[in-house]
């Protein structure tokens, strides 16, 4: 999708809604899902250390965008999974993966000049699927929609918590 805020709002809404059905998803696990939605944007490190600067200084080919593909995301998710305790790993792996997948999916709808998105499945495939070009990453529209969804989920969750608290 658009900017990182929209991605994490969308993840908040998704995992918040899932917590209504899946009992173990509490606020702590919603946070893990949101962290997963941040993972593909680690490729934005190129704003601070440009690919070509690394290539020129270290004399190696380099492209941060690898982190914005299925392969890069999988390794990043594994790093996050290794960092938690053994009995948390399955849950954390799942949450980080789904969070990151929502990011990649939303980004595959971004408008591009060529009408093609990006190599989502790399290194399995270089294929860049056509994009419907729904939005630009610089437009506030998607963030507003994601904010409305997140707010709705927040209010419903709070209402459910209040209801449970008042039950005898």
């Amino acid at each position: 999708m658009p900017d990182l805020l929209a991605h994490v709002l969308l993840a908040y809404a998704l995992f918040g809604a899932l917590s209504w059905r899946i009992e173990w998803i509490n606020a702590q696990y919603v946070t893990v899902g949101m962290a997963g939605a941040v993972i593909p944007d680690l490729s934005k490190a190129d704003l601070f250390i440009d690919d070509s600067l690394i290539e020129q200084v270290l004399e190696i080919p380099f492209d941060w965008f690898a982190l914005h593909t299925a392969g890069g995301v999988l390794i990043s998710v594994l790093i996050g999974t290794v960092l938690v305790e053994h009995d948390e790993r399955k849950r954390v792996f799942g949450l980080l993966s789904v969070g990151a997948a929502t990011h990649l999916l939303a980004d595959s709808f971004l408008r591009t000049a060529s009408g093609r998105s990006f190599s989502v499945l790399w290194p399995l495939s270089r294929y860049q699927p056509p994009t419907p070009g729904l939005y630009l990453s610089t437009e506030p529209g998607p963030t507003v929609i994601a904010l409305a969804l997140a707010l709705l989920v927040y209010l419903i969750s709070r209402h459910r918590t209040d209801e449970l608290a008042t039950q005898p």
């Binding site: 900017d3 939605a37 305790e85 000049a113 290194p123």
Partner: protein, 178 residues
């Protein structure tokens, strides 16, 4: 092995090396037009002439409008000025233009499709992205804690409110560390 601090560090180190390897591999990839991967800014800056007659994509800041010239910068040094012809949209100097078309002689692109990104849009994207990143970071600190001894992250037993912590620290400063 992954349950000890040392083992965890080794695995994370290996995964980080894999990630660097993946980024290096991605850096060697050539365009594959039949898969929808067209030559882009990096390829054009390296050798524009190689792609004469091919479909290419380019993005850059509009330098002049008659003719339309964009400048694209790769890294700290490499820049390329491209003339865009057959443009179907109106552009202004300073616009960020994204274009898809055929590479022609004389660093020219014959546009098929193009659109502009309004300049404030980039600052909006950066600003909101920082906000999103900070939100997740704050939630992580509130809900999870880092165990120095075992080098791992654990769920907190009680929510660690950053706001409360800041208020407590401010009050300590105010009353001389009381």
């Amino acid at each position: 092995m992954i349950s000890t601090g040392k083992g965890r560090l080794v695995i994370v180190g290996i995964l980080l090396l894999l990630l660097v390897g993946l980024a290096m591999w991605y850096g060697t990839l050539e365009p594959v037009p039949r898969a929808g991967v067209y030559p882009g800014n990096n390829d054009l800056v390296e050798n524009f002439d190689r792609y004469h007659g091919d479909l290419v994509t380019a993005a850059g800041r509009v330098q002049s409008v008659d003719p339309v010239v964009i400048e694209t910068t790769i890294g700290p040094r490499d820049t390329l000025r491209l003339t865009i012809v057959n443009l179907q949209i109106a552009v202004q100097k300073g616009d960020e233009l994204r274009v898809f078309g055929i590479a022609r002689e004389g660093s020219t692109i014959e546009s098929h499709t193009a659109f502009t990104v309004p300049p404030p849009g980039l600052w909006y994207a950066y600003g909101t992205s920082v906000l999103g990143g900070l939100w997740v970071l704050c939630r992580l600190v509130e809900h999870w804690q880092f165990d120095n001894r075992h080098w791992n992250l654990k769920r907190r037993s009680a929510r660690h409110r950053i706001r409360t912590r800041i208020q407590r620290r401010l009050s300590q400063l105010k009353f001389g560390g009381d």
